[in-house]
């Protein structure tokens, strides 16, 4: 290659592709390097994307054959015990009547390929099947390009944007981001299960094109700090389950066995009955929160998306932050070009944009949420079990007066938690999301 570019973007996921899109549209000579055989080949998410952030980059994305699966019109929340569980849900007509999509499901292999294709159409050079192995720096340590695993694969660039995802082996090697600690990431496994579109419509009580998300907390993670989800695609379901990696290293729970037990759960089995497994995957989720965010700018470089640990674990928001941080990075780079200053100071527009947006505001708001969950494992063990016990007792008609049942339930709760402990969980929980 040995070519000179204005900007080299590492990774053609949502962060990298949106940055490349904005840069190329602004006339900046941009190369977008991707290690997979095509954009999206290495990428996974639960599968929900948000229209608002995407429309800032590709207005009318639905009209541009964006390969989305279903428009999410209902969100369910499940609290599962071993044998059953509570379910709550919210559906709103507004979500299917809105002209632009709010939340929708995607398969990232298809979506990311389309999104990177949009960046190519703007003029960015997309180079797949290429691993960036190192940075090139000048005498003063400023980044001036990247090395790749292609023969003669050095690429000079005035700015490098690192957007290579949560599992950034490059950042680890170069020290741009310290390796996450096991406590800073969740390990999630995912299975896509094929089912006819009509069957999904019936089982989830939706019309074609409309979809449902189910977020699940409870005993299905074997007492580990984690969650599961079920999302509807056009003619498949995405099932994911994961837990904090530090919990996985302590418990001898195998992720794929946990996934199979989840699939056999009485609330889940009827939804996937007759389905055909299509694909099995694993990925990290950035869970370190605000305190795990590394330095995001330096002399000649910026970091966006998951590799910058920008992820809101409570609201399953990550790809939107990736897209918007990629866009901010691109805007800041274009400012730096006007100033002719590619040092950290010249790129500071990136940091100020992040600080002024929902991204850093949300990251700060939920700063204590990760530590809260890690310190209160009862959220995943005794609390769902007690809730299920109480519900089962009250719903079992067996001649025992309700007052007696209620007394027994309270005694069981009191044996598990003192009133002080209950207050502490409540207090810590409220503070963690304030």
């Amino acid at each position: 290659m040995n070519e000179e570019f204005d900007v080299a973007v590492v990774g053609a996921g949502p962060a990298g592709a949106s940055a490349a899109h904005v840069l190329a549209a602004g006339g900046v000579k941009t190369i977008l390097l991707e290690r997979g055989e095509s954009a999206g080949a290495k990428n996974i998410s639960g599968g929900v994307l948000y229209g608002h952030d995407l429309a800032q980059i590709v207005p009318d994305f639905a009209g541009k054959s964006c390969p989305y699966e279903r428009n999410i019109v209902e969100s369910r929340l499940w609290f599962l015990s071993k044998e059953g569980g509570f379910s709550t849900s919210y559906r709103d007509k507004v979500f299917y009547e809105r002209r632009s999509l709010n939340a929708f499901t995607v398969g990232r292999a298809k979506f990311d390929r389309w999104f990177a294709g949009q960046a190519s159409q703007q003029g960015a050079l997309l180079v797949p099947a290429t691993v960036v192995t190192d940075f090139i720096r000048d005498g003063s340590g400023r980044v001036t390009g990247v090395k790749t695993d292609r023969p003669d694969g050095d690429v000079s660039a005035r700015v490098v944007l690192l957007a290579d995802g949560i599992n950034s082996a490059l950042a680890a090697k170069t020290g741009f981001r310290p390796e996450p600690k096991p406590v800073d990431v969740a390990l999630a496994v995912k299975e896509v299960i094929g089912l006819p579109e009509e069957v999904i419509n019936d089982r989830f009580n939706v019309e074609s094109g409309q979809g449902v998300t189910i977020e699940i907390i409870g005993e299905v993670t074997g007492g580990m700090d984690g969650i599961a989800v079920i999302y509807t695609n056009k003619n498949s379901l995405s099932l994911c389950i994961g837990a904090n990696l530090s919990d996985f290293t302590k418990n001898r729970i195998k992720p794929y066995e946990m996934l199979d037990e989840f699939k056999a759960h009485p609330m889940v089995a009827p939804l996937i009955k007759g389905g055909v497994p299509k694909e099995y995957m694993a990925h990290w989720i950035a869970e370190g929160g605000y305190d795990a965010i590394p330095k995001l700018t330096g002399d000649g470089w910026l970091i966006a998306g998951d590799s910058g640990m920008l992820f809101n674990a409570l609201h399953r928001e990550g790809s939107n932050m990736a897209m918007t941080s990629g866009r901010f990075a691109a805007e800041a780079v274009m400012e730096a070009f006007k100033k002719g200053d590619f040092t950290r100071r010249g790129l500071e527009g990136y940091q100020s944009r992040l600080e002024g947006s929902y991204i850093m505001k949300d990251m700060k708001k939920y700063r204590r949420f990760g530590p809260f969950r890690l310190h209160h494992h009862e959220l995943f063990t005794s609390l769902p079990a007690l809730a299920a016990h109480g519900a089962r007792e009250m719903l079992t008609v067996d001649g025992v007066p309700k007052k007696e049942k209620q007394g027994a339930i309270w005694r069981k709760i009191r044996r598990e938690f003192s009133p002080l402990e209950m207050l502490e969980i409540l207090w810590d929980g409220m503070r963690s999301v304030r």
Binding site: R35, P182, L245, P255, A264, E279
Partner: protein, 93 residues
């Protein structure tokens, strides 16, 4: 529904490179300094297996999550990206 992880991996498309992208740095360390051997459990592709005096690495089925790189208590696993275009290629993602 499938139960064995081998069956799950069979659903995936891999382009296998002859060169391994995962290496145990020091086999001796696994034998002497690691009682828990968590890599045998948390790896979602069951890449690691113990064979008598050594840990065998079936890197061909690696799902590239990165967990072993930081989950190994002795940081005794060298993990790089597979060569460009190799490794797992998601059909759905």
């Amino acid at each position: 529904m499938t139960t064995k992880v081998e069956d799950k991996l069979f659903l995936d498309r891999f382009k296998v490179n002859e060169e391994a992208h995962i290496k145990i740095i020091d086999q001796g360390l696994c034998n002497t300094r690691c009682e828990e051997e968590p890599c045998l459990y948390f790896c979602p592709a069951n890449v690691y297996r113990r064979e008598k005096d050594r840990i065998v690495v079936a890197y061909e089925g690696c799902l590239e999550c990165g967990s072993c790189r930081i989950g190994c208590p002795n940081l005794n696993i060298e993990w790089r990206y597979p060569v460009g275009g190799y490794g797992i290629a998601h059909k759905f993602g």
